[in-house]
Amino acid sequence: MRIRPIARHDIEGLKVLARETGVGFTSLPDNHEFLSAKIERTLAAFEGREPSDDRLYFFVLEDDRDGSIAGCCAIEACVGTDAPFYHYRLGSLAHSSVQLDLHRTLDTLTLCSDHTGDAEVCSLFLREGWRKDRNGALLSKVRWLFMAQFRAVFPDKVLAEMRGVFTPEGRSPFWECLGSHFFPMDFNEADRLTGMGQKSFIGELMPKFPIYTPFLSEPARAAIGQVHEHTRPAVAMLKKEGLRWEGYVDIFDGGPTVEAYIDDVRAVRDSQLASVEVIASDAPACERPAVMAATTGMADFRASWISHDVTRDDSGACHVRLHRDEAERLGVTGGDTLRVLAG
C-alpha cells in the first residue's frame, strides 16, 4: 500500500470512492466534471503550476498488488481565498451590572471567516475492504509528513472539520434548531451546495447577529462542538497530534473544527530525514510496521509504512533500512533521503 498524488487516470477509481462515501461526505460528489476539475487542480498544485493560494494536494492510497484505489485524503493549502469560508465561533460575552448584582457570562455563536488563509486537512476516505493494516493512520498522518517536508508552501495554521452530531435517524439537532429557520432547503441540500464550493449563500442567509446559546434547544446546545460517534476515532487521532477545538463549529451541524499551528503538530515536529539503505526483502522485520516514510520530492511524492526502525548514528544522523520491495514501492534507492516518522 502506498500513498501518491492523484493522477488523471485515477478518475474511474475516484468515482468508485465517491459512490462509496455516501451522504454526508460532501467533498466527493459522484460527478465527473467536478472530480476531474479536482484532479486538474491537484495536478497543478503538485507540479507547482498553481500560482494562487488555491492549491489542493489530493492523495490516493494505492494497492500495489493491482493498482486499485483504496482510499484518499487531501490538504487544502489555503482555505477561503476562492470562496468564502464560514464558521460559527463559540465565544462569550459578559452580562453584568453592579447595581443589579448581576454577573453572568453568556455563550454566543457568531458568524465569522476567521480561518481564511489556513490550511485544511480533509477528504479522508478509506474503502471498506482496506480498513486494516493501519491504512487509516497512513492516510491521516501522511499529510503531516507532506507539510513537514514542504513547510514553506503552507501557512501558519492547519484545521480539520469534524462531522457533527446526528440522531440515529440522520437528523442534526443543531441544524433543526438554527439553520433550518434560515435556509429554505433541507440539511443535505445545504451541505451538498457547500461541498460543491458554493458558499456565498451562507453569508447571505445565515444570521449575522450573535446567537445566545441559551436560546437554542437543549439538543442543539448539546451538539455544539460535539462529533458524530463515527468521527470520534478521527478526532482522537488529530488530538493526539496536538490539534485542539478552539470554539469554531460548522454552521450547519455544529461539529467542531480542530486546529493547530502547523509547527506544533506532533508529527510535523517529530518527523525527521533519514538516509536509505536497501536490504534483501527476506531480511527479518518488525512484526507491525511502526515507521511511516515519505519521499522528499513533490510531484513524485510517495509514502508508506516501512518495517524497520529508524536508527541514529553517533553524529546524530538518521538511517533507515528498507526491504527491496519497500524501496521500490517508494521509488528510492540506497543513499536517497526519506522523511520518516516513528509511531
Binding site: Q99, C177, P207, F209, Y212
Partner: protein, 353 residues
C-alpha cells in the same frame, strides 16, 4: 356621580390599595407607599409649574365615586415617556436574508431594543376597582386624560402612547410571562414577578440598558413566547378595544418584559379630540334634562381639573345642560365654557398593525 380629578395627598391609601390590586402588577404603579407619595407630590408640582414643552412631568389622576365618597380608580399621564430615562420597547422588525445565487429571499422576524417612543406622551398606571370594570366609569377614567390633554396641548407631545399588560400564563398558581421565560430570563436569571418588582424600584429603563443590544431572532424563541408578542392580557381586552375605537393603532412596539402591545396615535386623529367642543353651561334641574347619550364633561382648570360623566344634552344653540350638582362638582356657573364629548365611540373594531 363619578368624577376624575388630580390625585391629592389624602388619596394615598386609596392609591396604595389600587396599586396592590392591579392585575397584572404594574411597574409604573408600584405598591410602595413612599413612591406613591412621591408620585402625588410630583403630580402636584407638575400642575403648578409653568410648562411650555412636555418634560418630565407626571400627572396622576383619581376616579372618585361621589355617591360613596370613595376613590375607586387611578390613571396617570407621563408628559414625555422617556423624559428622565429612555422609554424602551422591543420593536418588531423584519430582516431580509436574500441569496441571488439560490434565488431565494427569506424574511426573518426580529425584535430590536428601541427607545423611539421616548418622545411620546404616555397614558399609564391605570388601575380600577374591580366592581367598576367595563362600565362607563372605566371609560371615563381612561379617557378623561384625553380631555385634559385636549385643553393643555403645550404640556404634551402630539403623539400619544398607551401600553397594555401582556399575556401571562398561570403555572403552579403563579402568573408567569412566557415571553419573559424565553427572553429576559436568559439574561437576568430572575422570574417575571421578581424582575417586575425590581423594575418598580429601579426603573424599567435601567434594566433595559443591561439587556443585550442585538436583535433577537424570533424563530429562536419558544412558540409560547412568539405567540405572546403583541398580545394583551385578557383582562385588558375591553380596554384595548376601546382605545382602538378611540383611534389608537397597534404599533411595531411591544413591552420588553412581557411583550404586551403598545398602541400609538397622533392626538389629532383621536375621536375625543375630533369630537370634543366647548359649550357654555346652562344649569337645569335633573328632571328637566332631556334624554341624551352619555358624555364626558370637563372644566378648564389646570390644578382643579374635573371631568365628570354627564349627558350630551345640548340646547338648540349649543349650550350644554348640566344639573346643579354636576355644575358644582365641575366648579362652573352658568355661562362658563366646558369641554364636552359624547362617550360612545364609532366602532370597536381591531386597529391595524
Amino acid at each position: 356621580m363619578l368624577v376624575v380629578r388630580p390625585a391629592e395627598s389624602r388619596d394615598l391609601l386609596a392609591l396604595e390599595r389600587l396599586a396592590a390590586t392591579a392585575t397584572p402588577r404594574l411597574t409604573n404603579l408600584p405598591a410602595h407607599r413612599d413612591r406613591l407619595e412621591e408620585r402625588i407630590l410630583r403630580s402636584q408640582r407638575s400642575l403648578r409649574a409653568e410648562i411650555d414643552f412636555p418634560g418630565d412631568e407626571i400627572y396622576c389622576f383619581v376616579l372618585e365615586d361621589l355617591d360613596t365618597g370613595e376613590v375607586v380608580g387611578t390613571a396617570s399621564l407621563r408628559a414625555e415617556a422617556g423624559a428622565r430615562e429612555a422609554y424602551y420597547t422591543y420593536r418588531q422588525e423584519t430582516l431580509i436574508h436574500a441569496s441571488q445565487q439560490l434565488n431565494v429571499r427569506h424574511e426573518v422576524q426580529t425584535l430590536s431594543l428601541s427607545h423611539e417612543v421616548s418622545d411620546a406622551t404616555l397614558l399609564c398606571a391605570l388601575s380600577l376597582d374591580a366592581r367598576y370594570r367595563e362600565t362607563d366609569a372605566d371609560s371615563l377614567l381612561r379617557r378623561a386624560r384625553l380631555m385634559f390633554i385636549a385643553q393643555y396641548p403645550e404640556r404634551f407631545a402630539t403623539e400619544l402612547a398607551v401600553a397594555f399588560p401582556g399575556y401571562l400564563e398561570t403555572r403552579d398558581e403563579r402568573q408567569v410571562s412566557p415571553f419573559w421565560d424565553s427572553v429576559g430570563q436568559h439574561f437576568f436569571d430572575r422570574d417575571f414577578n421578581e424582575i417586575n418588582q425590581m423594575a418598580g424600584v429601579r426603573s424599567k429603563s435601567f434594566i433595559a440598558e443591561v439587556m443585550p443590544p442585538f436583535p433577537l431572532y424570533l424563530p429562536l424563541l419558544t412558540p409560547q413566547a412568539r405567540a405572546a408578542i403583541g398580545r394583551e392580557n385578557p383582562r385588558h381586552e375591553y380596554a384595548m378595544q376601546e382605545m382602538l375605537a378611540e383611534g389608537f393603532s397597534r404599533s411595531r412596539h411591544v413591552d420588553i418584559f412581557d411583550a404586551g402591545p403598545l398602541l400609538l396615535a397622533e392626538c389629532e386623529r383621536l375621536h375625543t379630540f375630533k369630537q370634543c367642543g366647548w359649550h357654555p353651561v346652562r344649569i337645569r334641574p335633573q328632571e328637566s334634562l332631556p334624554d341624551a347619550v352619555p358624555a364626558m364633561v370637563a372644566n378648564q382648570r389646570l390644578g382643579d381639573f374635573r371631568c365628570v360623566l354627564a349627558r350630551y344634552a345640548l340646547t338648540p344653540t349649543g349650550q350644554l345642560m348640566l344639573t346643579p350638582q354636576q355644575a358644582e362638582v365641575l366648579g362652573v356657573e352658568e355661562g362658563r365654557a366646558v369641554l364636552a364629548v359624547p362617550m360612545p365611540l364609532p366602532t370597536m373594531d381591531e386597529g391595524e398593525l
